[in-house]
Each structure stands twice: as C-alpha cells, then as structure tokens.
Amino acid sequence: MEASPLVGVGILLLIAYVFFYLPRSQIRNLLVIVILFMIGYALVVTVAEMPVFGSANAPAYNHVAERYIEGAVAETGAINVIAAIIMDYRAFDTLGEATVLFVAIAAAIASLKAH
C-alpha cells in the first residue's frame, strides 16, 4: 500500500464519519481498531526506511553538531555540551520556553481561582 494522498484523504473522511455520525456500538469499536491499524502500518513502514539506528553517517550528525562539540569548551567554557547549547548558543530559545512555562501557569491559576 503506497502512501498516496488519496489514501490519506480517505482515512480522514473515514475518521470523521466514525466519530461524528456513528453511535457507540460494536461496529464503531471495530472501525476504530481498523483505522488505528492503518495509521500504525503507515507509521511503521515509514520508520523502517530511516537510516540504521546508531550509524555514524546519519544525516542528523552533520557539521552543526560537530561545530558545537568542537567549539564548546573554547567558546563557552562549559564541559557539558548540552548545557552550552541551551544556555549559550541557543539561549534565546530557553527564554522562549521560560515564557511558555510562565504563560501556562498564569492561565491555569487564573482559571482555577476565578469565581
């Protein structure tokens, strides 16, 4: 089964039909399991085509990672490369993440303590 766009649209229409029109019954449970098997098969077939787990010439291990590993001690002074990445090279993303934490907690407390 190739992953063509028609199959994807067909799966989406089937999901919409099952969850908006069918009442709870045995047929609905069976259709849910069929849909999940199709989605799971598509995911597993995609994952099997990825580069082998742990290979040193994977596309993810490119010049960016080597530049960070080689330049971490000289440019930041930290031995932990991951701490150097999130606190020095990409510290602005850590600021964005602190913002996400703050906004989520403010929203949660505001909705809990309102009357």
Binding site: A83, F102, I105
Partner: protein, 147 residues
C-alpha cells in the same frame, strides 16, 4: 496522612533532597542535569512535605505569595542577566562577546553567565511545580479571593 513513620522520615529527608536539587542546578555545566532537572528535584521535596503532612502545613511552609514572587523573579532574573550583554556593547544574552570572563573549564565558576542562567531557570521551574501542586489539589478552598 497520620502515619508516624512517614512524618518522621520525610522531615529528615526533605533538606537532603533540596541539597541534591541545588547541586544538580549549580553543576549543570559540568555534569548532566541543568536548570530544568534541578528545579524539578527541588520542587519534589516540597511536594513530599505537602503529601506527608496535610496541605495547610505545606502551604504555610511556602506560601502562595512567596512562590509567585519566586516565579516572576526567576523570569526577571533571566532577562536582567541577558541585558548584561547589551550593557557591555554586544548582543542580547551574549557570553564571550560581552567580555565576561570564562574561567578555567572544569571549575564551578566557569562558563560566564551559564551559572546564573541555570539558577534563574531552576528557581522558576521549582516555583512553577509547587504552585501547580497547591493550586490543583487545594484549589476549591481559597477560590474567590484574588491576591
């Protein structure tokens, strides 16, 4: 809970958990860990205190005012440390280009502003978890009052 063993043991263990949490925060640039993991460990010590005693004793220990102050203080601390770079004529959140001394790698006070950023993030994450715990579990008792 009213168990005597749980109360005595948790009263003994809570300072050691906090000490370990602060170790993970401070040594974030030398060993695995960092601000986020250390903040979660410090928060778990106060959650253990709130679980083994009752919730009013826990919220008296670290009240709502202090924890919301710590949470905002952590974010403002992060921003102030970032503005040091602009003060010295370079970019925002600059470490080496702002002239901050990097020290010798392997010591505690190395890495420039990484130490202070870790501290700010650790305090912020810890106070977030504690505030969440006390709001979600005891939220209906003190609703209707806006502090």
């Amino acid at each position: 809970m009213d168990d005597l063993v749980i109360r005595s043991v948790s009263r003994l263990v809570v300072p050691f958990i906090q000490l370990y949490g602060f170790y993970v925060i401070f040594y974030g640039h030398l060993s695995p860990g960092g601000g986020f993991a250390g903040g979660a460990i410090v928060a778990s010590s106060m959650i253990l205190y709130g679980l083994s005693f009752n919730l009013e004793a826990g919220s008296r220990k670290l009240g709502h005012d202090i924890s919301s102050l710590m949470e905002s203080g952590g974010a403002i601390w992060f921003l102030m440390i970032g503005l040091i770079g602009i003060l010295f004529g370079s970019n925002f959140l600059a470490n080496r280009f702002a002239g901050v001394s990097l020290g010798t790698p392997g010591q505690l006070f190395s890495g420039g502003i990484i130490f202070f950023l870790s501290l700010g993030i650790g305090v912020k994450v810890a106070s977030t978890m504690i505030t969440l715990f006390y709001s979600l579990s005891g939220g209906e008792d003190n609703s209707g009052t806006n502090s």
